[in-house]
Symmetry: C2
Subunit: 459 residues, 2 copies
Amino acid sequence: METILVAGAGLVGSLLSIYLARLGHQVQLFDRYPDFREAEAPGGKSINLTLCERGFAALDRVGVGDRVRSISVPCYGRVIHGVDGTLEYQPYGTRREAIHSVSRNHLNRVLLGMALEQPTLDCHFKQKILEVDLHQPSLTLRDLRSGELTELPGDRLFGADGAHSAVRTQMQRTRRFDFTQEYLDQAYKELNVAPAADGGWALEGNAIHIWPRGHYMLIGFPNLDHSFTLSLHMPYEGAAPAFSSVCTPEDLTALFSTSFPDALPLLPNLVADFFGRPEASMITVRCSPWTFEDKVLLIGDAAHAIVPSYGQGANSGFEDCSVLADCILEGGGDWRQVFSRFETQRKPNADAIGDLALEHFHELRDLVGDHEFQLRKKVERRLNELYPDRYVPLYNLISFTNVTYVEALRRERVQRALLDRLMADPGVRERLERGDAEESLDPLLSDLTMETLGQTVAL
Amino acid sequence: METILVAGAGLVGSLLSIYLARLGHQVQLFDRYPDFREAEAPGGKSINLTLCERGFAALDRVGVGDRVRSISVPCYGRVIHGVDGTLEYQPYGTRREAIHSVSRNHLNRVLLGMALEQPTLDCHFKQKILEVDLHQPSLTLRDLRSGELTELPGDRLFGADGAHSAVRTQMQRTRRFDFTQEYLDQAYKELNVAPAADGGWALEGNAIHIWPRGHYMLIGFPNLDHSFTLSLHMPYEGAAPAFSSVCTPEDLTALFSTSFPDALPLLPNLVADFFGRPEASMITVRCSPWTFEDKVLLIGDAAHAIVPSYGQGANSGFEDCSVLADCILEGGGDWRQVFSRFETQRKPNADAIGDLALEHFHELRDLVGDHEFQLRKKVERRLNELYPDRYVPLYNLISFTNVTYVEALRRERVQRALLDRLMADPGVRERLERGDAEESLDPLLSDLTMETLGQTVAL
């Protein structure tokens, strides 16, 4: 049994601590924020997030998946809102695949609660990291209530302290540590939609709602209490609308009347929500190495923060915990090997989902409402229906399987080439443009596709 | 008069403090290292560096240039050492232009000494920054002797605390702060060449010595006491020789016998120097913004660390101080404007020299000993002799003028196109390959060049 310091009692830090305690270690968990179970959620983070298959797989392994399911709202598809109020429902898959909308704070409380049930785990709140000694390893912590400093040594140190990780900051000073953090030139603000007067949903409840509008958009996530959280995404500056151009309540109302008319009546607190909250920025973090000798490991956002558009931040962090557990099980007590296996496996996957999240951000914003995109989706859906195990759209590989991100991207390249060829086929295009039923494509698909799909599953 | 906190009493922090004190401010200068005047130089930094025109221009403005000249060794050219012991002298310019080799520690002591002569300046050593409050601004410092913590407020805070800046680390956590640090896959070790038995130089004294060998090289800098510091540059890993492949004294001696035979007899302490010192890594740092509101400004390596190959690290940092002084003089007491002007002027120049330094690193290593490169240099030298104000090679623009880095690069693009055209001219090439005197090119040059050179000086 080792004493393991875990910096950060957020989502990944809490789940990691459960795993480590279950693997027989003494865990000391720290966070600079007050106990989330008693206090408001820390600022600067989204209210909602979505969990999918790979997140739940990691939660299920330590038996906390069902507790989390019970506080989540399954969403079986997207509802696209046109400017004219038309709605288009796009199911995520053909087998009721769902992503699950959950309150970040509620999820964190559940995970932390589970962590605190572990007999070999102690958790300390309001502890700010002042110094990190990587060699020992040890942490110098300031108690934010008493002001007192303590130095705490351990056998290993895990940095699960998020995109602005203090552990990583210390590693930044070590030899050959490459590091990048980059912000999007876009941000978002969260707005509340109350439940309907009868206590039900004000919008279709088991769906994600999207109002794609080119360089800006609105996205809505359902909450357990039948409220919704809407995120308004816009650039900081530049062509209107942008945060720099929406300065008055009138500007804001005009924007919603013009661009999101069906959302406006659901947002009685729009002005207070918008002007009372800071915009949330979106950061991508990459670094290398994730480890310091056999002493310190970065995990979750501390190692690979990604933008939220693919809904994979928490999922990839949870997957980290599960992969790490496998590495620990395989590696015996050889932590150098454990860390090295973990980084070798996870770094390419973290880079892949980081890139994908940046791409998907543009797709969501620009393409979800786009005609060509819709036609492609139609063909994709049919291919997926016909060959459910052989043609799985990228979004579904990411969200509804446990295939690695890297492998998902490899399959996507094969699938994309196939789709490009199909879309260039005059017969296919004619039927699509005519709006024929998706089944009408079948005779045109079978020959073209089978050869290609052979490659898809050649793992 | 404002109270200005300057983090870092290195080269840039010391010079900056002199400037700020001269501009009428109360300066509080801090460093985590002991007083450089009493102690060994801090580890991890090069023993030598080179100063050039733009560095001296910034030193002269506060009257410290001559003190620095008196401790520097002017180098009027490069001596290229062939494997067979042949030497080729390449003068830097036609008018005895020189770069100046100086001990980093000695230079720092001179600057710090001058800073401490300023009546409105206090300097505090062995102060480690624990916390940075950007809003105040203030610093929480730990006295590394007594362990005591102090919180020190000021009106402004300047982060001159180097490539691993603690001030910048705090700014990293602010909204939309983009940041990259990237290491070269090469490193170097410093080796000492003692003065000759008669007390004179063991190698030509007023020159930089280079042993270019493809993916590795040796560079030598003269010191005031007639010793030399040689830097052995190699990759960390990969094709031999690399740091990973030079493991024993025998490996090392074999490398020098084969690749640097004329240097070997000058290095009686080779084995102890090489195995007794860590290899020094080379980092490039870029970030944006350099400012936090009108409170905090990053300067020197903290804002834009570059690899040392162009010898511009200290020079660009000193130029920062001079440009900042101009911005302060222009901006009155409006610090927001001062900071914004400074960043607008300096950021593109810092990016330019950062890129150039990375490029020049490869040029030094790969091309200095290259035949084609030598021929180009010959043509360049002649163009420079014929049109000394209109054709100035890039290295000379950077090292022997005060033209901005960005403007130097613009001129270089024009000049490079001209040189490409000349090198493709069969008449020019024939004379070059025959080894004719450089003057023999003149009849072929005049028409081709004048039109192009018109653009060079079109500022």
